[in-house]
């Protein structure tokens, strides 16, 4: 039974490869590797990079994740320690700068929650969420940084 199972295992692995190859070719090449639709309050890593020093980065993750690595110059501000962290954020804040909030991945809600509080409670304008989060930014930096 083991030999038969192994044979069938390999057959299934190979069977899946053909439609996957076709699907990958159609989706990634024909559409030119489309990016997920950008929400009105989102910004892509490339755009945020272009804004350069006009951005105030806000890291909405935990202190541990922030300490492990964050966007250069980012201020830690998360919901779990909001009252404690807001004063330091406001000390760094500049009304002329655009705020970009990020968390770990593409669809984590921490960055969106922090962005909402910045708009609703502090009445700050020009607040965006980084599409793809820290993951996308890290990947963007890795592929676009000259060595």
């Amino acid at each position: 039974m083991i030999r038969r199972g192994l044979r069938e295992f390999i057959i299934i692995i190979l069977l899946a490869a053909l439609p996957a190859a076709v699907s990958g070719y159609l989706q990634l090449e024909w559409r030119g590797a489309p990016q997920p639709e950008l929400q009105p309050d989102e910004v892509r890593p490339g755009t945020a990079r272009m804004w350069g020093s006009h951005v105030l980065w806000v890291d909405a993750r935990s202190r541990e994740r922030y300490d492990a690595g964050h966007v250069h110059g980012a201020i830690l501000l998360n919901e779990d320690h909001w009252e404690e962290l807001v004063p330091a954020f406001l000390d760094a804040w500049d009304p002329e700068k655009t705020i970009v909030v990020y968390c770990d991945g593409g669809k984590c809600d921490a960055s969106r929650a922090v962005a909402t509080r910045l708009r609703d409670e502090l009445k700050l304008e020009s607040v965006y969420v980084l599409q793809g989060g820290w993951t996308a930014w890290h990947e963007y930096e890795r592929t676009h940084t000259k060595k």
């Binding site: 009252e83 807001v86 004063p87 406001l90 000390d91 804040w93 500049d94 009304p95 409670e121 502090l122 009445k123 700050l124």
Partner: protein, 101 residues
């Protein structure tokens, strides 16, 4: 799982700011309470150069807090606590952030 507890006191906005050189006219923060047991007792400023005063619009329901820095010639900031009298054993405070930028 996140549990959201509705706060009976709303402070809006939680940030008031002036640009350097802007006239230091007071800016208004509106405080509303949904619990008739709550009243505002006073303000505590973390920076002596910042002050505020409370105006009652509707007792135990709506208040205006006027906050201003002493001057706006340089950057400064303060955290101003709005002190309430509720709950009686451990009264809560709400923070308004003031900045000159």
């Amino acid at each position: 799982m996140r549990v959201v507890v509705d706060d009976p006191v709303t402070v809006t906005p939680a940030l008031v700011y002036w640009k350097v050189g802007e006239p230091n006219a007071p800016k208004i923060v509106r405080v509303t309470t949904r619990n008739p047991e709550i009243s505002l007792k006073g303000l505590v400023s973390g920076n002596p150069d910042w002050s505020g005063e409370i105006e009652t619009i509707k007792p135990r329901e709506e208040f205006l807090v006027r906050i201003k820095p002493r001057d706006t010639s340089a950057k400064s900031g303060a955290e101003i606590k709005i002190v309430t009298d509720f709950p009686p054993d451990q009264p809560r405070s709400y923070v308004v952030h003031g900045r000159v930028k």
